[in-house]
Symmetry: C2
Subunit: 183 residues, 2 copies
């Protein structure tokens, strides 16, 4: 008797992946990962914390990628780290509720929680709640967390962590924010 084990028969191993650090490329890496996953038929959901603006990537998803579901929980303004407005806390709380809902729904293979690291660092949402969510995720589901300031416990639970470091930035040379580059 021959037992043949083929790698593509193995169950998918869902991963917790973190993109953190002070450099440019965390959110774009997550969206690029969404595109890669979509190409292989993954069902992808993106939840953005602290963002409420029609970024280029959001416009592109609206126009071209109806198969990706995207939810924003934030205003089109910066949240103050030491003194967030009640509305910022409330929106982040709603984002976390949506994350719980979509993770439990079984409708998705990959879920991106964009800027959730910052939402935790700013104390908009409790780190414990996010950790509980990650600990109880379905085994085959991938979850990607982005944003600066990923906490030590998030780094600990993650399977993959990339730190995007700023080596050089055009802001230092006086180049302003530009559509298509920063947003």
């Amino acid at each position: 008797m021959t037992i043949e084990i083929r790698a593509d028969n193995l169950a998918k191993q869902g991963l917790i992946m973190v993109m953190t650090g002070d450099g440019k490329g965390k959110t774009t890496a997550a969206f690029g990962q969404a595109l890669r996953a979509l190409g292989h038929g993954y069902r992808v959901c993106i939840i953005q914390f602290m963002k409420g603006r029609l970024y280029g990537e959001v416009l592109a998803i609206q126009k071209y990628l109806p198969d990706i579901d995207l939810y924003q929980y934030g205003l089109d303004s910066f949240v103050m780290r030491d003194n967030p407005a009640p509305v910022d806390v409330e929106l982040a709380r709603q984002g976390l509720e949506k994350a719980k809902e979509v993770i439990a729904s079984g409708k998705y293979d990959m879920i991106i929680l964009d800027e959730i690291n910052v939402a935790m660092d700013f104390k908009l949402i409790p780190e414990d709640d996010v950790l509980a969510l990650l600990e109880n995720k379905p085994a085959e589901m991938d979850i990607i967390l982005t944003g600066r300031y990923a906490t030590p416990r998030i780094l600990e639970i993650a399977d993959m962590v990339s730190e995007v470091r700023e080596i050089k930035h055009h802001y230092s040379a006086g180049v302003r924010n530009q559509a298509g580059i920063e947003y």
Copy 2:
């Protein structure tokens, strides 16, 4: 007389951006940047060096994003660093020629040269030729170079450099390559 200068009337400042380092997220960040740019109406072209495979991101572009032009110059096999096959050198040379052609064509606002840093490090293409290409690019055009081993002269000419550092990787835990994650 009042002279009003509005930021959105200023000419676009094209940037040379580099995603390098040993961590996961360089190519996906470039593709996410392409998506962001596309959302704002940029005309985007992607040239992949040393890659000849239907990665998820390539499949997704074929299926959903016909407005992005993508060219691959490589085989579906690894190039040996110290002993590249003549075909690897020839394909990389063709990729560089294509890059010259699309940069000169005026048809694109953003051009992504995926893995070109590795192609230079492996001596498949001359660094001098890439530098000349970057020095003579149209002022408003963005060019993104990805791949490990970006050379000091590439880092010098770049406006923006992010280093993606591997903090933790699931390969260490024995998780294999998976469609939708690595390719």
